[in-house]
């Protein structure tokens, strides 16, 4: 009768030593009480952060020019969302992992047309405004080339955009209804109506904030506030939260890759970092099956510290 050779990194020796009393219920109860007291202590001493969410209303009142510039960007296709690609639109192929165009293959499943969804549709819900009604009729009655021409002409003067007496002013000509549209949208935003229009566009009940979040993230207001809270990607933002709290410290490795080359300079960093973390997670999962890696614990001998009483006996 043959026996398989003992593999020290796979097999465990049969324990024939002593046993000690062990009260598992008592141990569990004490653990819950101690951890519970620690949680109460930490919650009492440090609390938890709750920075109020910004709204399009607060954004457009705090910085109407940034809001109007973003709104214009949604119309001329220069914002992040307008140029995003999947899952929102087909404006870009999205990132690729070598030959794998994962975002493109996944397709457009959350369609967002920035002109329609962020500008024209919300304005169309405004009642009793003859000037707006006329501007929207002019916009909708024009062909695509005419619309592009108006927006392009307006965009050329956007660098000199000013805000005075409650109006956005841009020195530009042959711009059709664009100034009215931008001003009416800014007024709508400052009143708070745009916040509601963006979430209720698909009905009374909703729990989906995709559109207002995309719109807000296209401006600089949100990012500027985040920078003050040290939340930018370059500031290890993904794992941080507002205030001096530990945040998602367990994401440190995921965030770390974004800080170093080649990822920090790669246009495909997101998919590359995700793939790398997926690979590392797989290695961790399959570690017991990987020769070499599974021998590390035996070779580094940290186990002698852990079981020092056993080895000193």
């Amino acid at each position: 009768m043959s026996t398989k050779p003992f593999r020290p990194d796979v097999d465990a020796p049969e324990y024939k030593g002593k046993y000690a009393p062990y009260d598992i219920i008592r141990e569990g109860t004490i653990a819950v009480i101690v951890v519970g007291l620690l949680v109460v202590l930490l919650a009492t001493l440090f609390g938890s952060p709750d920075e109020r969410a910004i709204t399009i209303k607060t954004w457009s009142n705090a910085n109407p020019i940034d809001f109007a510039t973003t709104a214009l960007g949604e119309m001329n296709g220069s914002t992040i969302t307008a140029q995003y690609g999947g899952p929102y639109n087909t404006a870009a192929p999205g990132q690729n992992l070598g030959p794998l165009k994962l975002a493109q293959w996944a397709g457009v499943t959350i369609p967002v047309n920035t002109v329609r969804d962020f500008v024209i549709n919300p304005l169309s819900s405004v009642p009793n405004d003859p000037d707006l009604k006329l501007a929207l009729a002019q916009w909708k009655g024009a062909n695509s080339a005419q619309q592009t021409s108006w927006v392009s002409n307006y965009s050329k003067g956007a660098a000199k955009m000013t805000w005075s007496h409650g109006l956005i002013n841009v020195p530009a000509t042959n711009v059709g209804p664009v100034p009215t549209i931008i001003n009416k949208l800014t007024q709508m935003a400052r009143s708070g109506a745009l916040d509601q229009a963006l979430v209720t566009g698909s009905g009374f009940y909703t729990t989906n904030y995709t559109k207002p979040l995309l719109f807000v993230a296209d401006g600089t207001y949100l990012a500027n506030l985040a920078q003050k809270q040290h939340l930018l990607g370059s500031q290890w933002g993904m794992m941080n939260e507002t205030g001096s709290y530990p945040g998602q410290a367990w994401l440190w490795l995921y965030t770390f890759w974004y800080q170093v080359t080649p990822f920090s300079t790669s246009s495909n960093a997101d998919v590359q970092v995700s793939a790398l973390m997926g690979l590392l997670s797989l290695l961790l999962l399959l570690l017991p099956l990987i020769p070499g890696l599974r021998s590390i614990p035996r070779k580094v001998k940290v186990y002698r510290l852990i079981w020092r009483e056993h080895y000193s006996a």
Binding site: P21, I25, V35, A43, S48, A106, Q229, S274, R294, Y303
Partner: protein, 208 residues
Amino acid sequence: MSTTEIERQWTTRLRKRAAGKLPPEKLLPDTQPAYVSSWIYVFGVTTLAALSLVILTGFILSIRGPQWWHSSSIGHFVNSMHLWSVEIFFFAMIVHLWGKFFMAAWRGGRTATWMTGVVTFLASVGAAFTGYVSQTNFDSQWISTQAKDGINATGAGSIFNVLNLGQMLMWHIVLLPLAAVLLTAVHVLLVRIKGVVPPFEEKTGATK
């Protein structure tokens, strides 16, 4: 009904199989090997204790809904307890994971125990992340709008929309906690079935 017929029942067979694998003295042991006497073992039970507090505080937050804690001092305190129990949970779980790595705790047919532990960790990362984007405050606005790019780049954003509060909240309070708790239960049962991994046997040449 004959004895043979009873013996063939699925219920009887399952009970016998479960009792054979996990008799009461293994499920609730009153002794343990003498080598189980290191501080590192504390972190396993600390993880379980913290998880129970995460679930308990989550239940309390659920009673009044996702925005209660913004307007109630009691709600804010419960949210703070939820946050700190999560922080302790992850701290203890990561120390536990490193400890088990240095013990090579997968030895002796314990590969499934290791794997369920790793998957529990990954599910917990997802549960915590979906919690962060469901807070309905500035943090959730910023984290979700940043995280969308990483998820969208993999194609997963086509079905997992981090900007959809309703979807994220469902993942946070139903799907991922359920996965984490079930995986933890399987993990603990595997530990009870297989026992705590013994030390390396140095005398037999297991180490150089």
